[in-house]
Symmetry: C2
Subunit: 343 residues, 2 copies
Amino acid sequence: MKKTVAVLGAGSWGLTLAELINNNGNTVTVWEFNPEAAQRLERDRSLSFFSQLKLSGDIAVTSDIASVCAGKDFILVAVPSHALRSAMQAVKRSGADTSKTIFISATKGIENDSLKRMSQIIADEIPDAARRIVVLSGPTHAEEVQAKMPTAATLASINGKASEAAREILSTSYFRLYTHNDVAGVETGAALKNILAIAAGLCDGIGLGDNTKAALVTRGLREIIKLGVTMGGQPTTFFGLTGLGDLIVTCFSRHSRNRALGERLGRGENASEAEKQMVMVAEGVKTAKSAYDLAKKYQLDLPIMNEVYCVLFEAKDPRAAVQELMAREAKPESMPGLEGLVL
Amino acid sequence: MKKTVAVLGAGSWGLTLAELINNNGNTVTVWEFNPEAAQRLERDRSLSFFSQLKLSGDIAVTSDIASVCAGKDFILVAVPSHALRSAMQAVKRSGADTSKTIFISATKGIENDSLKRMSQIIADEIPDAARRIVVLSGPTHAEEVQAKMPTAATLASINGKASEAAREILSTSYFRLYTHNDVAGVETGAALKNILAIAAGLCDGIGLGDNTKAALVTRGLREIIKLGVTMGGQPTTFFGLTGLGDLIVTCFSRHSRNRALGERLGRGENASEAEKQMVMVAEGVKTAKSAYDLAKKYQLDLPIMNEVYCVLFEAKDPRAAVQELMAREAKPESMPGLEGLVL
């Protein structure tokens, strides 16, 4: 049955999902924060930095949040993580009726200062929606989903019915969706992997090889698990599509913005210069700040994430950072958080 | 202290390790099965397909197994997996004294028919060495170790002292070694990942994206764990350098022969043609056969490995194989073998 869907955020991922949901026979409206950008997109049906996507004629684009959100079956959120809270506040303030709306979060990050996950921010601002939030996550570069390349992703919710409903509007022959109940694990994995992608990019920029990156990703996954489990995730979640899968694609794909940012830094650009050059948001930068604060809060040793933080925020030389990681004392391999494994 | 080391097998990995051990101040002799190839290498100090490596003048190359192995502190085995048993039989037959020798296996595979791991074959043929076998494994493309790019790998043995001794001759500032005691887990992970690399290559050859590969690798790791645990490995081992780390590098690196073979098949070459084009051995082909037999023996469902087998040995169309994998019914993500996880 035809559903009504608001997509908040007109970046490459928001538009890819808007188009996909529309193609699935639903009615989609896109909200873009900036009125001029909304008008431009309504007219051009395309983004300059993602021109391969042409928005279907029946998808309206507007900057009026009240009309976009009122009475919708779904609100899919695909704004940058630092803009999520203000977007939710705008929804709330607009007075739009969202009393039956399922919120789908396609945003990956951990908010600075509050150190909260995206679904927690939605629940903070729209408390009655707390049991109607679904998280969409996984190895899903927009460029490839837009090109209909086979992709698998995860829908996580404490509410299985909400996940199933979200699957109805989102799944296609090339976009396979698996359900999951570990929201904390899915969201922390999705957010933290972007820090590792910056580290992988540093290796690329310095000119190190795939052996180095593989070691870094393997050991980095342990850091993700350490912090993610502390934040309430289940250890096994991090070995699924939203943890390992997303980590791999972000660290190795040419499409990854976070990896690309790291590569620039590795080549010697300074952090603020490199960030300015990026058209799209590299979520890993803000998440690195949050992870640094979380490591302090929970007193965790997260060497790779810490080195990325130092490169980004303390102008540490990337070569020195990678060298320090490699020079750490060799010791028996262990799997933090999994030592007590009983089968 | 200076050690005496025989390296069996003069491929790119054998020579890279020979050179590294020699640079570490040890005395190295290389054994090459084929007398003509041995003479050529002794004269040219280089391989046509790996010309970046120039063998140091003090490393002797010979096809005389008795002189190479007699009384050595270490015998490092880097022959193709299908040649390991006959090499060990040759060592035995030569009468060389190996009563105090530590055997280091750098060979990855599972023998056809016997379905045994490499260290089991060494112990089969030289039973008194059973407690002096160390397995070297991890994400270690020879090209990058030869170029001294930072690399981390694992030494696995039931005998911690043997691992420590092997570390002494092998470790350098750019080649970090971690010790491990799960020999079965390290060896099965190392062998089975080559099958997944062929699958990743199929995706590349067909023109599918990184999303698809990430999903395949993530789900493939579960198959490795399922079979690896059945074969005696500890589940957590597969998330370390020798499992996940090696899997990633093999599936994404341009240096991987198994991935390259899969890419040829994905582009439409037939299996025997594609194999003939390869200068170096793609271990995944033989291992796919062994895994197919193991899946039957233990009645395990290993869909990705099974499709690779069908493409390699039953001329199945790669597109049909990948399509079938993607079309499998979507269901909640689970982590086979880890359901009972207790922390």
